[in-house]
Symmetry: C2
């Protein structure tokens, strides 16, 4: 879905906007989000799902709070996403014997399989997104964005 409400061709966008980094960033991100939504949507998933599955795959079983911290997802949102993932048997949620406050979230085999499928479609999405950039330009973009991101994070 999403047909993007971007400035329509034929109607010039104000220069004040075109030259503002925050505008460039949010507009480009909107395109990225749209493409990601389309890609993951075909797999009946959203960005949040991929994030959590990726963290589970890379770091192994974890508590919900850990997952949220790693992926930048609020605790309350983690709950909802995990409910959905668990309903599809992509993860298992079991109480942590060592700390009864926690749940241990484990990636299932089906979950790992889905993760890979999502990863593949996301790879294609990146390519579509960055189509106009050369490999070195893509690297440079990644570098700059990472710098900004690191700066505004805990570091």
């Amino acid at each position: 879905m999403v047909c993007t409400m971007e400035p329509t061709p034929g109607a010039a966008t104000p220069a004040r906007l075109r030259t503002t980094p925050s505008w460039l960033l949010t507009q480009t991100a909107a395109h990225a989000a749209r493409l990601v939504a389309e890609g993951l949507g075909a797999l009946d998933a959203r960005g949040y799902h991929y994030r959590l599955l990726a963290a589970l795959d890379e770091f192994g079983p974890a508590s919900q709070a850990d997952l949220g911290r790693r992926c930048g997802v609020d605790r309350s949102d983690v709950v909802a996403v995990l409910n959905e993932l668990a309903a599809k048997n992509l993860v298992r949620r079991s109480p942590d014997p060592a700390d009864r406050r926690r749940n241990v979230i484990t990636l299932t085999t089906a979950g790992r399989r889905e993760l890979h499928r999502m990863g593949d479609t996301l790879d294609r999405v990146q390519d579509t997104l960055l189509a106009p950039l050369s490999p070195s330009e893509r690297d440079e973009l990644n570098r700059l964005l990472t710098a900004v991101l690191d700066h505004h994070s805990g570091r």
Copy 2:
């Protein structure tokens, strides 16, 4: 207020995410949006308000449909934002004698003044956002984002 639900320091973010352009983009954009919201919020405004005012200032009076097309804002959202701007006397909405379907939206003196105030705070926001980048890096980022944006737009 938005305190950003970013990956918490101490908890590593999955490499799969850290190296994915679309993730870098949306996360950075989230920071940008947060900073913009804080800045404009202090002036009791939002991004949409700035966009429309900027277009009016740069291109003069326009119809609502034109404004929406120029700024990438849906017609229905333009209505709401214009209601708010008109309530504050920042714009005037009058029927177009030449085409009775349209309204002619005009920037008022107060509107132009507010626009400048917003522009000033947004300038500061850009500086905060891009703090870790050198001037040439900022230019490069702008260039790359513009390329991606142009590619995915009407061109």
